[in-house]
């Protein structure tokens, strides 16, 4: 298992950042989602070995998160969210430097730097000073430094922040290639849900320090059916009765009601309740649940 943690608790003073989080992630690309303050950064800090959990424990790539932190960082790659570089260096020197800091021999690090810069599409500008790089190039460079030492697992923190649509597509292509063809597990923390939906098959959603949901995206989407409907008449009673049946109902700006219907319930009930409440259903369509819908439902935000 790449990441195996059990019952992790962590507090900053009195504030609980993580409460009883357990994960068992083995391969492929995993999306880590959650609103601000959900505990994502704390979780990555613990997985990288910067923080030791108050309670619970686990392993990353087989190394104990409490006792073998430097080993974890040797075999894990990390791509930070912020722009970060070392001024005065060109891309080759920068990437090989960080390879050396990971423990690679000097000459091998230099050779690998050329390879990974070619891989991320910076081969033509690899001798340019980093100060002259555009945002998109810096983002690729951050990816290059994260994979220079051929990690078995990489953490990507908001990998598409600040990119134009083309740059975003290219970085996502790289991430998909890394996770699907290069046998490197990827954990992506992002607020851009379509990016997660495109690159990841598995998702972990944190909310208020607790694990709100985890699983295959396709399976999670099937937990509830989503129906879109337009209604005519006094909606109050109808919606109240739907909510009593543990449905989640949202109204969109254009007057469409999104109803998350539990799969164990018969959808005929919707029509029955509408008839009893003297409501006309003018539009009734089974909709595809997106990750955004799932996230909104799990976290309880629009």
């Amino acid at each position: 298992m790449s990441i195996e943690i059990k019952d992790i608790h962590f507090s900053y003073g009195k504030m609980k950042a993580l409460e009883g989080v357990s994960l068992d992630l083995s391969q492929g690309a995993v999306g880590l989602l959650g609103p601000n303050g959900a505990g994502k950064s704390t979780l990555i800090r613990i997985l990288l070995g910067f923080l030791s959990p108050d309670k619970g424990g686990g392993r990353v790539l087989g190394y104990d998160i409490k006792d073998e932190q430097p080993k974890i960082r040797r075999y894990v790659g990390y791509m930070p969210e912020d722009d970060c570089f070392i001024p005065g260096l060109d891309a080759v020197s920068f990437t090989s430097y960080l390879g050396e800091l990971s423990g690679m021999p000097r000459q091998e690090a230099m050779k690998r730097a050329h390879e990974v810069l070619y891989y991320v599409g910076l081969e033509e500008s690899r001798y340019r000073k980093l100060e002259t790089y555009s945002s998109g190039m810096k983002q690729r460079l951050k990816l290059a430094q994260a994979i220079v030492h051929d990690p078995k697992l990489i953490f990507l923190d908001e990998p598409t922040t600040g990119l134009d649509p083309n740059g975003r597509r290219e970085v996502l292509e790289l991430i998909m290639d890394i996770s699907s063809k290069k046998n490197i597990q990827v954990l992506i923390s992002s607020h851009i849900l379509p990016d997660i939906e495109l690159t990841c098959s598995y998702v972990v959603i944190l909310n208020k320090g607790k694990l709100a949901a985890q699983g295959d995206i396709s399976e999670l989407k099937e937990i509830r059916d989503l129906y879109e409907m337009k209604i005519k008449g006094e909606a109050g009673g109808f919606l109240r009765r739907l909510k009593d049946m543990k449905c989640k109902v949202e109204e969109t700006e254009d007057g469409i009601f999104k109803v998350y219907w539990p799969p164990d319930q018969n959808r005929q009930e919707i029509f029955k309740i509408a008839a009893e409440e003297k409501i006309q259903l003018r539009h009734f369509v089974k909709s595809e649940t997106s990750l955004e819908d799932l996230f909104a439902e799990v976290v309880g935000v629009d």
Partner: protein
């Protein structure tokens, strides 16, 4: 741009468990310092006093060839520990050290703060201790070029020019003094520069601070001296403390009428404070925001 399929293959090498994991930081720090404007000119210039002192050692052994230097000048050419003390502790030499420290030390941490590079260092198997050692070693490297190395060269060349071991027999402890004072002055300036470098993301501001704090401490000393007429006020001057300790280490009369221990403790205190400050300022955990 498409993905370069052939550009990526798994690395089949082995990671080294390095004895000195901080060495790449030092190597790149030295490389970046040499890339700075004017530094290639400043470093040779900073060696001019050493050349002058070395010439003095040569002349002292060949005074008969330089008759015009007889008299008062020949007193200066008396090669003894005092000659070495003057080289190491004269105000001009300390000023040169300060300039070198500004070139190589001002940006060491401030640039990392400005460009968020700490995240890159600490997401690697690197301890905080390794990071600081790597940075300090950059300053040590450049300061040793103008302190330790010339000092030892003076000593060796004195023996070579005189063609006897008489000087060594007279002052067998002198090499230790050279090494000891070089370590003290270099250690102090290293902690001093790193402390100030961690205060700001602006390299120029740090350079001004390194320069300013040193000279302001001297100005404050001069003001206090005229006010209180006590030698103890010399403890506020960084220059005076370095000179006081230097004089003692080279076995000379200290310039201020107080124990050199006080000056040593002031310098040590600054280093200890800098160490604690740096430890709390640079946090590995902050790499993930």
């Amino acid at each position: 741009m498409t993905i370069k399929e052939k550009g990526y293959s798994h690395w089949d090498g082995e990671f080294l468990v390095k004895k000195f994991p901080w060495w790449p930081i030092t190597r790149y720090g030295i490389k970046l310092t040499f890339m700075r404007k004017f530094f290639k000119l400043t470093l040779p210039m900073s060696l001019l006093p050493a050349v002058f002192w070395l010439t003095g050692i040569y002349i002292s052994e060949r005074l008969e060839d330089f008759p015009f230097l007889k008299g008062e000048t020949s007193q200066f050419l008396q090669i003894d520990p005092g000659y070495f003390k003057i080289y190491f502790t004269q105000g001009f030499m300390l000023f040169i050290m300060l300039m070198i420290v500004i070139f190589c030390g001002a940006s060491l941490i401030s640039d990392d703060l400005k460009h968020n590079s700490l995240q890159l260092y600490f997401s690697r198997p690197l301890k905080k201790k390794d990071y600081f050692l790597g940075k300090i070693a950059v300053i040590v490297f450049f300061l040793f070029i103008i302190t330790l190395i010339p000092g030892l060269v003076f000593f060796i060349m004195k023996l070579v020019f005189s063609g006897s071991l008489k000087f060594f027999i007279s002052y067998p402890w002198l090499p230790l003094s050279i090494i000891g004072y070089s370590f003290i002055v270099t250690g102090f300036f290293s902690f001093y520069a790193l402390l100030l470098s961690s205060l700001s993301k602006n390299r120029r501001l740090v350079a001004i601070l390194i320069f300013g704090v040193y000279f302001i401490s001297d100005i404050v000393y001069l003001i206090l001296r005229s006010e209180f007429r006590s030698h103890y006020v010399s403890l506020v001057s960084l220059r005076a403390n370095l000179q006081q300790v230097g004089a003692h280490i080279f076995g000379q009369k200290t310039p201020y009428d107080i124990s050199w221990i006080f000056s040593f403790l002031v310098l040590l205190g600054i280093c200890v404070f800098a160490g604690f400050f740096l430890k709390s300022k640079v946090k590995g955990v902050e790499v993930i925001k």
